[in-house]
């Protein structure tokens, strides 16, 4: 690899966003949208190329490293391991789909569809940077930078109270980010005192021996930021408010891509840089995670608003992911990684299809629907598929990841699993009850004569559904790239899977 492929990959969409933004207004019409879509597809192609060239197993690939700020020890360092690769893929897959799905949503917004697409591309590029960064400083820069496009996407497009929602989102994230900043600087101080001199390279920080107390403090700083990002109880309330106001497309990019930064960061930074502190915090984190699972699910059941409901389901799902991460065994970690990808797909499908529904009805309140299946069977069918994937039905991709996390939790402690598993029952309730209230029963007068999905809308969802089903039966390609990364993480936290209690030898008595 002579060319800096990752840099190209993350600059391509950013360039695209600049181009789209600068397109003169008078060439209106669909041109800006087409250009934007073109760039995102181009990015997708390039990313697929990278994924093909990626050899499963062997550490960081496509690595780039340039010293950036010597005195800070900051580098411009990119690289992909299995975890990063899957999330980059998720990003580049979802962006064009979201663009296609929200073709019309931007028109009425603050800067028109053009602006929306420009922001989306900017977000795509920055997200790729986040997932590819192998330098904490660089990661932090991208981490904060992603807030700006999302802020303007939320504040500029969507419901009547979108501005407040955007501010709430921004302040929550900024607060988390600043707390994290303290820890980031702490890392500098520690590394500066080490003989190696200041450095922010994850690879070198992982080798650093950080004092127990310092390590724990810094871990807490990082974890708070990531917990806000990933929304975990009790710092989740910004998410429902935001998704309630934002357009479906924004919600997808926010929940499916951006929030993954939180869980990604927990693996990449909390576990790999602060193994001791991670082990120390495990009990608390796991309790929080299980609580998030049940809390999110129950809140989803109680929600009267479709968008809020989906947001709360994500709180529950992120609980599963965090649980999988912190049980620190190969099932849990691999499950969590896979979960991030699958949750991205299923939640995207759910947001988009319900987005179609809401935009048709002009309301997101559940009691405004009923009997939609009769008037719009395709929409209903897709919504059911999306819902079933959200409740992790076997044969759909989320099942494998959820089962892995569950089993990983069981390996950690049966009791944890026993509580977490209640989540699957609650999931069935919130999904099917939503479907029952909106799609079945007598046709609500408000939905009478509702159009069924058009070709563009189906076209946007089709790839998602196809992926969900395909990965439901054959997730192994993803696991092949994830597993080595998981092994690396486990060696970092000095954990290994417990041997089964019964093996060949003992059975022969």
């Amino acid at each position: 690899m002579t060319l800096p492929w990752l840099t190209i990959l993350l600059l391509l969409p950013i360039l695209g966003s600049v181009v789209v933004a600068l397109l003169p207004a008078r060439l209106g019409g669909p041109l800006p949208k087409l250009v934007g879509l073109g760039f995102s597809v181009l990015t997708l192609v390039l990313a697929i190329g990278i994924a093909v060239a990626y050899q499963p197993g062997t550490g960081l690939q496509f690595a780039e490293e340039v010293t950036w700020i010597d005195l800070f020890g900051a580098h411009y360092a990119l690289g992909l391991d299995g975890i990063g690769l899957t999330l980059v893929l998720l990003t580049v897959i979802l962006t064009p789909i979201v663009m296609l799905a929200s073709w019309e949503d931007g028109e009425t917004g603050r800067w028109g569809a053009k602006g929306l697409f420009a922001w989306m591309l900017a977000l795509e590029g920055l997200s790729i940077g986040v997932f590819a960064a192998t330098d904490v400083f660089l990661f932090y820069v991208f981490f904060e930078a992603t807030l700006i496009p999302v802020y303007f996407m939320v504040a500029g497009y969507g419901g009547p109270r979108r501005v407040q929602a955007a501010v709430k989102f921004l302040l929550y994230s900024l607060a988390g980010g600043l707390v994290m900043l303290a820890s980031v600087i702490g890392l500098y101080v520690v590394s500066a005192d080490s003989e190696g001199g200041p450095t922010y390279l994850v690879s070198e920080l992982a080798q650093l021996d950080i004092g127990t107390a310092a390590g724990r403090w810094m871990f807490v700083g990082f974890f708070i930021a990531f917990a806000i990002k990933a929304p975990m109880f009790p710092v989740h309330t910004w998410l429902p408010d935001t998704t309630e106001q934002a357009t479906p497309g924004t919600s997808v990019l926010l929940v499916s891509v951006l929030d993954k930064i939180g869980t990604f960061g927990m693996i990449r930074f909390c576990l790999e840089i602060f193994p001791e502190a991670s082990r120390w915090a495990t009990p608390v984190v796991i309790v929080l995670a299980v609580f998030s699972i049940l809390y999110g699910a129950l809140m989803a059941i109680g929600s009267q608003n479709i968008s809020r409901l989906i947001a709360y389901t994500s709180v529950s799902h992120f609980g599963f992911i965090v649980l999988g991460i912190f049980v620190m065994n190969s099932q849990g970690l691999a499950g969590a990684n896979l979960y991030m990808f699958n949750h991205g797909l299923s939640t995207a499908a759910l947001f988009l299809v319900t987005g179609y529904l809401i935009s048709r009805r002009g309301s997101a309140r559940i009691e405004d629907f009923g009997g939609v299946e009769k008037v719009a069977p395709v929409l209903a069918g897709l919504m059911l598929v999306a819902g079933l994937s959200s409740l992790a039905l076997p044969g759909l991709s989320p099942f494998v990841s959820e089962l892995l996390v569950m089993v990983g939790a069981f390996v950690y402690s049966p009791w944890v699993a026993a509580f977490a598993v209640l989540g699957i029952v609650l999931a069935a309730i919130y999904v099917l009850w939503l479907y029952q209230r909106t799609m079945t029963g007598p046709v609500h007068e408000g939905v009478a004569g509702m159009r069924d999905l058009g070709l563009r809308e189906i076209g946007a969802l089709a790839p998602l559904v196809a992926l969900i089903v395909a990965l439901g039966f054959y997730p192994q390609p993803l696991l092949d790239v994830i597993n080595p990364a998981v092994d690396h993480t486990m060696s970092q936290v000095e954990k290994s899977d417990p041997r089964p209690t019964v093996t060949e030898g003992e059975a022969q008595e």
Binding site: W68, I69, D70, L71, F72, R110, Y140, V141, F142, E144, A145, L147, I148, F152, A155, G156, V163, V167, L170, L171, L174, A175, L178, V179, L181, A182, I185, G186, Y188, V189, A192, G197, W217
Partner: protein, 530 residues
């Protein structure tokens, strides 16, 4: 009986100061003798030329420090020990000169006020009287502002280089007195402007009273005014410690007053709001640089020996300053006042970096020190705030500048470019990455953490979050609320203000993305000579 040996002055090394003061004097002469028509061009011309010359010479002086040799003890004491031309001092010179030149451009802006500068046509003329009306119609303008600012700049060059208490006091007054006057010279809203001048003057004089008394006490303790001798005395730790502590306390009152740190901040909002915006910009940017330069030298060089005595006090002041600045800014409704409180908060952040004092042996050569962190932050903040105030001068309505936040609603629709630039500067002040504000915060927090001042850093971090709120609030106003009534209009400025804004935005961006070079230089020169 025998001949005396004349005091040895290294004229070239101190030439920047001499040039600036000289140009100021020339300016006075110009006022006296040049015909009215010629004054404006002459004043602006001489001022800019003088600053350019001073800048050129200071560059040479800076180069002689040879910052890339890695010799951290670069620099020398000049003028019989009165001045120290070392890394921090000369860097402050460069910074003040650039900021000063930009401020002069703001002063010289004529297009915004329809062909006259934004200062009172005739300060003597009473507001609302025939005389004033006549003065404004006949296009009178006070070109004395240029000599005044030059004097102030001269004092600001002297201040951070002052190597004994007396010089420091003189410098303090030289930079303050012109500012008092400048504050009172607004063309619009004269009453507020004069009130600002009065408040600034009285409180300034009051604080310098403390300052002088502090000098007296320290002199009493150390038996000398020179920093080196004071340091020696502090090391020896003989004599009446009570005098020393009281002296430190009173001197720091004077200095903390200048930087606008709580609880000595109360003048800042009123003066920043009342003063002509150009002057406010100049004060916010340049005065902070000079004052912090002096503060650093005094405490690091003279009182470095017993830092354990005073660092806790600075902890408290820093925390208080950040809290007061951030919290009070939330409820402001006037943009200039809000920026004033934000500047208080930033003073707190800088003090956080100021805490990063370590003895020389602890500092790795070329590593990040408290000094370099503070100087870096001053650079980033100076340009950002200068540009921000410059933009404030553009947003106007019938009654001059529309500084009430409500008048900023929908500015993003009105003129996206200006609003965008302002939003960018605000994000920088909030410390968002890829802006200089972030790297600056990073530097000062790191310096503080290095000496284990983590509680201060925690507070700083939380307060940054609070501060983010009111910056974002302005962005929301500009982009996401509908204009009220006819809304404000953005007047197109002349090239001068445009240059200032452009330069500030550029600096904010560049220092945000590639701060490496500057940080490295500061890492090398960021040590005082003793």
């Amino acid at each position: 009986m025998n001949g005396f040996d004349a005091p040895k002055i290294e004229y070239f090394t101190v030439s920047p100061i001499l040039i600036v003061l000289g140009v100021a004097v020339i300016g006075v002469l110009v006022e006296a003798f040049a015909p009215r028509k010629l004054r404006y061009p002459l004043q602006v011309g001489t001022a800019l030329v003088g600053l350019a010359a001073a800048f050129a010479t200071s560059v040479v002086v800076f180069a002689r420090l040879n910052p890339f040799a890695g010799d951290v003890k670069a620099g020398k004491v000049v003028a019989e020990g009165a001045l120290a031309a070392d890394g921090p001092a000369v860097f402050c010179w460069l910074l003040v000169l650039v900021l000063g030149a930009l401020s002069v451009l703001l002063f010289a802006e004529r297009r915004l006020e329809a062909g006259v500068v934004g200062f009172a046509g005739q300060a003597a003329a009473l507001p609302g009287t025939e005389a004033e009306r006549e003065a404004s119609t006949s296009g009178l303008e006070h070109t004395e502002v240029f000599p005044l600012i030059m004097f102030a700049i001269g004092g600001m060059l002297l201040f951070p280089a002052a190597n004994d208490l007396l010089t420091m006091f003189v410098a303090l007054e030289v930079l303050s007195l012109p500012l008092y006057l400048l504050c009172g010279l607004a063309r619009r809203r004269r009453l507020l402007s004069q009130e600002a001048a009065l408040k600034y003057f009285l409180l300034g004089a009051f604080s310098s009273g403390f300052f002088v008394y502090g000098i007296a006490l320290v002199y009493g303790y150390a038996g000398s005014m020179g920093f080196a001798q004071i340091a020696a005395a502090v090391q020896a730790d003989g004599g009446e410690r009570g005098l020393l502590l009281a002296g430190i306390a009173l001197i720091s009152v004077g200095l903390l007053f200048k930087v606008g740190a709580a609880p000595f901040h109360s003048w800042t909002p009123d003066v920043y709001q009342g003063a002509p915006t150009a002057v406010t910009a100049f004060m916010a940017a340049a005065t902070k640089v000079a004052a912090f330069g002096a503060l650093l030298r005094l405490f690091y060089v003279a009182f470095g020996g017993n830092r354990t005595d005073w660092t806790p006090m600075i902890w408290a002041v820093a925390i208080l300053t950040m809290v007061v600045g951030s919290v009070l800014a939330i409820s402001q409704t006037d943009i200039k006042r809000m920026l004033a409180y934000s500047s208080i908060a930033h003073a707190g952040f800088i003090l956080t970096g100021f805490l990063g004092i370590r003895s020389l042996d602890e500092v790795a050569a070329g590593g990040l020190t408290g000094v370099s962190a503070v100087l870096f932050y001053l650079t980033t903040y100076g340009f950002t705030t200068l540009a921000a105030f410059a933009i404030v001068t553009l947003v106007r309505d019938g009654g001059g500048e529309a500084t009430h936040l409500a008048r900023w609603q929908g500015l993003g629709k009105e003129s996206p470019l200006v609003a965008g630039a302002f939003a960018f500067l605000l994000l920088a002040m909030a410390g968002i990455p890829l802006t200089s504000g972030f790297t600056g915060k990073w530097a000062v927090f790191a310096a503080a953490l290095q000496v284990g001042a983590w509680p201060v850093v925690i507070v700083a971090v939380l307060m940054s979050a609070v501060a983010a709120y009111f910056y974002v609030r302005v962005i929301v106003l500009m982009f996401f609320s509908e204009p009220v009534g006819d809304g404000p209009s953005v007047t197109t400025p002349s090239i001068m203000t445009s240059v200032v804004i452009g330069f500030g935005v550029l600096a904010t961006l560049v220092l945000g993305i590639v701060p490496g070079a500057l940080i490295d230089v500061l890492g090398r020169v960021g040590v005082f000579i003793r």
